[in-house]
Point group: C2
Chain length 348, copies 2
């Protein structure tokens, strides 16, 4: 790529769990970045971060911060995105937003590049990065949808605490120490910051991620249901989700059950399709106890799939076990991949 | 109950995780026990345990140990049950076996008293206690099956390490300390003692419980599938299972998806049925963040059900979140309840 393609990039929420990961991945990538601007709330402004051996001072995000910015990567929470994304767009930037603020907006593309890259073309300045648990599932489902058709998806998730930010990691670590010291565990954050009740996550499982909706589902479950349909362009595909937070720091795992449309498939047919799927790595061999786990997927780029089994009672039913680093492909990497495709395709 | 009903009880595997829990629960129950004999392998023989303030020396299990025993509660592994259960029966004892040794034997009743008590009548000396993850699921499913009919069950489990015994608890605790001290985690036991590979369970999730079968399913998954059909007397009910081990000590949780036969049901209909179900406690109110967790179910007798939701895309589909202490209702308590029903009904 020539210098003419070079872009000015802003990272909003640079000191958060996803922001840190974005900077880490940008260092390894060959994006033609002319200037990298790191933005945050006033609370974290002034902090100094290192990018390619260069010290960058984090600045407080203001509307003017986006002057001369070509691409702004947002991951500072929905309210910040709602406030500043339009300001960035007004100043000529393209926003890749990692919050839920714009995902279900019909005018905003919701993109996993391996799955629906061409949806990027129709953007109006804002592109939404899907929810972490959605990204890894659709990466595994899309090749199956194309090859065999899908008629039903039922998922139960096993999600890491880092999805709730660095504070949640600290809470897990502290509660774990308290438990091992026979002290009472202090629960002040999870399942949801700002929600009324808090429960220990250490040595526990919390069947609540994000706040409850009127219909009894959590917002995380509704994100998985609605975003999956939007990304797969399949409004009529039944998608059912149960989302559970678990005591590990990184990577989400998912027990995904699908009904395929095609008759008479077997596990090998699914292996063949997933083996050649972009961004997917098959780790599936019962004979050698080969399957992905949250720890094995940590800091890796791909979506890992294992434990593929055919339902013993249903010719169309298959189980998959899908694992990916929620901060990498589930957030920072996918955000950066969207930016890469925008630049490469000249869709800015 | 009069002294005439008094029975001599043997506990085989008295020093194991389930054996300890059996003694603990027997202390609280009013079973008419004349003599309690505690048996184990030669390795643990000689150990002294306390039962109702009385010291009992653990003896090595031998065929003659079962002379004059009326009820023998086995939880020392399948090979011990296969070796000694027939010896106990030969000597006139009724065996309640907590291993998988006899569960799928057509001549052996597989019983959760609230679900299929009357199956006990046809015993030939051996009664099998179902797998922990099966017990809690069928306790929640049976009332729904009776009220509405079931046409499909899909379950993903969240299982505690204590299901793999006291050693597994120690492994989780030690790995947790190693991780927090930035030391390498030593994995020597889980997922399966004696299997070739071992992976850390601390801050991780292992999608393997028990050994793999030829068909790619784990034995734990096959237990859930086959036992559920046997207990519910529903050989044609499609049951699909994915079983996952997680880093908590006690209680299994399950994300259970069911298709009911009856049309037009809503969440309230399921609440009404489960509210009056024996052995089941409903904990389900999104407005107050009320749902069961592994920690909240610990040391409790009941099967707790929450997060009941109707599938937004399928009139017959419902989600349930089912949690119970795997050592209590999932093992020791159910074993003792079987013994109670045998005595009360004079079915010994």
């Amino acid at each position: 790529m020539t210098e003419n393609n070079a872009v000015n990039v802003a990272v909003v929420g640079a000191t958060g769990a996803v922001g840190e990961k974005i900077i880490e991945i940008l260092e390894k990538k060959n994006l033609p970045i002319r200037e990298l601007k790191l933005l945050s709330s006033s609370r974290s402004a002034g902090k100094k971060l290192i990018y390619k051996s260069q010290e960058i001072t984090v600045e407080e995000a203001k509307p003017e911060s986006f002057d001369n910015i070509d691409i702004a990567l947002f991951s500072a929470g929905g309210s910040i995105s709602k406030k500043f994304a339009p300001e960035a767009v007004k100043r000529g930037a393209v926003v890749v937003d990692n919050t839920s603020a714009f995902r279900m907006d019909e005018t905003v593309p919701l993109v996993v590049p391996e799955v629906n890259e061409t949806d990027l073309q129709s953007h109006n300045g804002i592109i939404a990065n899907p929810n972490c648990s959605t990204i890894q599932m659709v990466a595994a489902l899309k090749p199956l949808q194309e090859a065999f058709g899908l008629s039903r998806v039922i998922v139960s998730t096993y999600q890491a605490v880092s999805g709730a930010g660095n504070e949640a990691n600290q809470e897990l670590e502290e509660q774990t120490k308290q438990y091992l010291n026979n002290e009472e565990m202090k629960a002040e954050l999870l399942p949801v910051k700002g929600d009324e009740k808090h429960f220990p996550i250490a040595f526990n499982a919390l069947p609540q991620i994000d706040v409850f909706q009127e219909n009894g589902y959590t917002f995380e479950e509704m994100k998985m249901i609605n975003e999956t349909k939007k990304i797969l362009h399949a409004q009529d595909l039944p998608v059912a989700a149960t989302c559970v937070r678990l005591p590990f720091f990184t990577s989400h795992a998912e027990s995904v059950y699908v009904d395929v449309e095609k008759d008479g498939l077997n596990v090998e047919d699914l292996w063949n399709v997933l083996e050649s799927a972009e961004g997917v790595t098959l780790q599936d061999n019962p004979a050698t106890q080969t399957y992905p786990t949250p720890l094995s997927a940590q800091n890796k780029d791909d979506v890992f799939v294992g434990r593929i089994r055919k339902d013993l009672d249903n010719d169309h039913g298959f189980h998959l076990w899908v694992v990916s680093d929620n901060l990498v492909k589930g957030a920072a990497l996918n955000t950066i991949q969207i930016a890469e495709r925008l630049i490469e395709n000249k869709w800015l």
